[in-house]
């Protein structure tokens, strides 16, 4: 029997639910040297800001049990380069739906970047990352305050006249459902859960943090149970689709995320460990579906 791995994400049909997560897939085209990008369900492009950014000083990476910390600091060439150069280049290599990932340091910046992404014909969906600090509110993350999350969502929604809006949430909140509902109420078409969990490591010989930035975002397989719970909570609290992200490294992790309530799944750190991670997961899905008696992957979304 042919197993149907396709899913419908905000009206866009993905041939499978596997999406490399923003920041773990270069600018979107580097992995084309390892496999055909058409294999993927969609591609989430590198986090982009209004202005170009160098990012943080190095070291930016620290290994941990079950994953890693990163403090790349949103290195990117800026939204104008994304829409004029990067997205067209990735599009020239594949027909896979492309998701722009937007970060801003003020509500206005989110709005401007989303407007530019909306006008870019190579981009199919827009994901806004609300885990960044709000410079007008003393650096407090937009994503930890329902009112600030709502304000970003409203600005992005207004700017995106043509394209679906995904809002990517941080796990570092007391009540994920309050943030999720705030974004849904302001017109988010889907939510991505979760971003990295803030963390740090210390070099005990040098008596200094391993990362030049002191702290970074923790990601990797150790995060899967945390992500599953939050996806499950958000899925129960909202009607809009959830994109599950956090520690996914195998086809069985994808199935777990979907049973928890995810419509599609992002694969992040696994790409850093193994460039063939995503195609490996995609290739393993049909056999696992057969073993589990799943004909259509969409049938298991949120069944628990």
């Amino acid at each position: 029997m042919v197993r149907d791995t396709s899913v419908n994400l905000c009206g866009i049909r993905l041939q499978n639910p596997v999406i490399p997560a923003s920041g773990t897939f270069g600018q979107g085209f580097e992995m084309a040297r390892w496999y055909a990008l058409d294999k993927l369900g969609a591609i989430c492009l590198k986090g982009t800001t209004l202005e170009p950014r160098f990012g943080n000083p190095t070291p930016r990476i620290a290994e941990c049990t079950g994953g890693l910390l990163n403090a790349v600091g949103l290195q990117n060439p800026g939204i104008d380069a994304l829409v004029s150069k990067v997205a067209p280049h990735v599009r020239s290599l594949c027909r896979t739906p492309l998701i722009a990932n937007i970060s801003g340091f003020s509500v206005e910046e989110f709005g401007i970047c989303c407007e530019k992404a909306d006008a870019c014909e190579e981009i199919d969906l827009v994901e806004v990352n609300i885990s960044c600090p709000n410079v007008h509110k003393g650096g407090m993350s937009f994503g930890t305050d329902p009112a600030a999350a709502a304000a970003v969502t409203r600005a992005a929604r207004k700017a995106l006249r043509k394209k679906p809006l995904l809002v990517k949430l941080t796990p570092l909140v007391t009540d994920i459902t309050a943030i999720a509902r705030a974004c849904e109420d302001e017109g988010a078409d889907a939510l991505t859960l979760i971003n990295t969990l803030p963390g740090m490591r210390i070099d005990i010989r040098r008596r200094k943090p391993v990362l030049a930035n002191r702290t970074g975002g923790f990601s990797g397989p150790a995060l899967l149970p945390v992500a599953l719970r939050l996806v499950n909570l958000a899925a129960a609290a909202c009607k809009i689709p959830i994109v599950g992200c956090g520690g996914v490294a195998s086809a069985s992790d994808v199935i777990e995320m979907m049973m928890a309530g995810a419509t599609a799944v992002q694969v992040g750190s696994a790409n850093l460990r193994d460039p063939m991670a995503c195609p490996g997961i995609i290739d393993a899905l049909p056999a696992l579906m057969e073993e589990l008696g799943i004909e259509k992957l969409e049938d298991i979304i949120g069944i628990i």
């Binding site: 773990t24 992995m31 930016r60 790409n271």
Partner: protein
């Protein structure tokens, strides 16, 4: 660039704190000098980026310094064990950039990739003069290997127990070699100290803590005259003019 399983055919100390790891895989292609590999280490999440000292068809020789838990674990793996590698990573040395005589400068474990570079330069009929710097006489690597390839090798040690006493910058002053192109690999302070002393064109192989090694995580970025670049992807070798030193 490929992912492939290699078998360990030797994994022995070369000098104190540095191991020579010989890996074989039938049919594996040779990689360019200056490219690196990412080695999966049992029990570690990320791979470890290691310099290739010599690449031959079906065979890789790596020199690695025991720098932390990952490389310490690597020392425990015995002959016959298998390792999964990503090979052919990054952009290596421009062998063709040298017209007649090359100057190679290496410091510590940074001498590793100079072995294959020297072989390839000699195969292309270029003369090679090499300045290799170490802490002590016990740490000296690749002296015989480069001499056997016909290079004019000069050693510098900090304590003066072997060769010239001092740093490679001292050796550069004393030997005062003629060359039309230079290649440097070593610790960042060494390379920056050499930079103002080296006239003429050349290139440096840089190092940084890496995440992916394949250009996707932006963990190893360095500022260049052409903007931010990834050491694992656009590098590790950068031309002199690309570095804003």
């Amino acid at each position: 660039m490929e992912k492939r399983i290699y078998t360990i055919s030797a994994n022995e100390p070369a000098v104190p704190g540095v191991y020579r790891l010989v890996l074989t895989a039938d049919g594996a292609p040779q990689q360019r000098s200056g490219q690196f590999v990412q080695v999966a280490i049992p029990g570690k999440y990320l791979r470890r980026p290691l310099s290739v000292s010599l690449s031959e068809p079906g065979r890789l020789t790596l020199l690695y310094k025991v720098a932390g838990e990952g490389t310490a674990t690597l020392t425990t793996l015995r002959e016959g064990s298998e390792l999964e590698l990503l090979t052919g990573l990054g952009h290596g040395f421009h062998v063709e950039a040298c017209r007649k005589k090359a100057l190679l400068i290496g410091g510590g474990i940074g001498v590793a990739p100079l072995h294959q570079l020297c072989r390839d330069l000699r195969a292309a009929g270029r003369e090679v003069v090499a300045l290799l710097g170490f802490n002590t006489a016990r740490d000296v690597l690749l002296h015989q290997e480069l001499s056997a390839l016909g290079a004019d090798v000069h050693i510098a040690t900090l304590d003066g127990q072997a060769g010239i006493k001092g740093l490679v910058t001292d050796a550069l002053g004393q030997v005062a070699p003629s060359f039309d192109y230079f290649y440097v690999c070593g610790p960042m302070p060494m390379m920056r100290a050499l930079h103002p002393l080296l006239s003429g064109p050349g290139e440096y192989s840089l190092e940084e803590r890496m995440g992916c090694g394949t250009g996707v995580c932006f963990g190893c970025t360095v500022q260049t005259t052409e903007g931010p670049q990834r050491i694992c992807h656009e590098g590790p070798v950068f031309l002199k003019d690309q570095l804003p030193w």
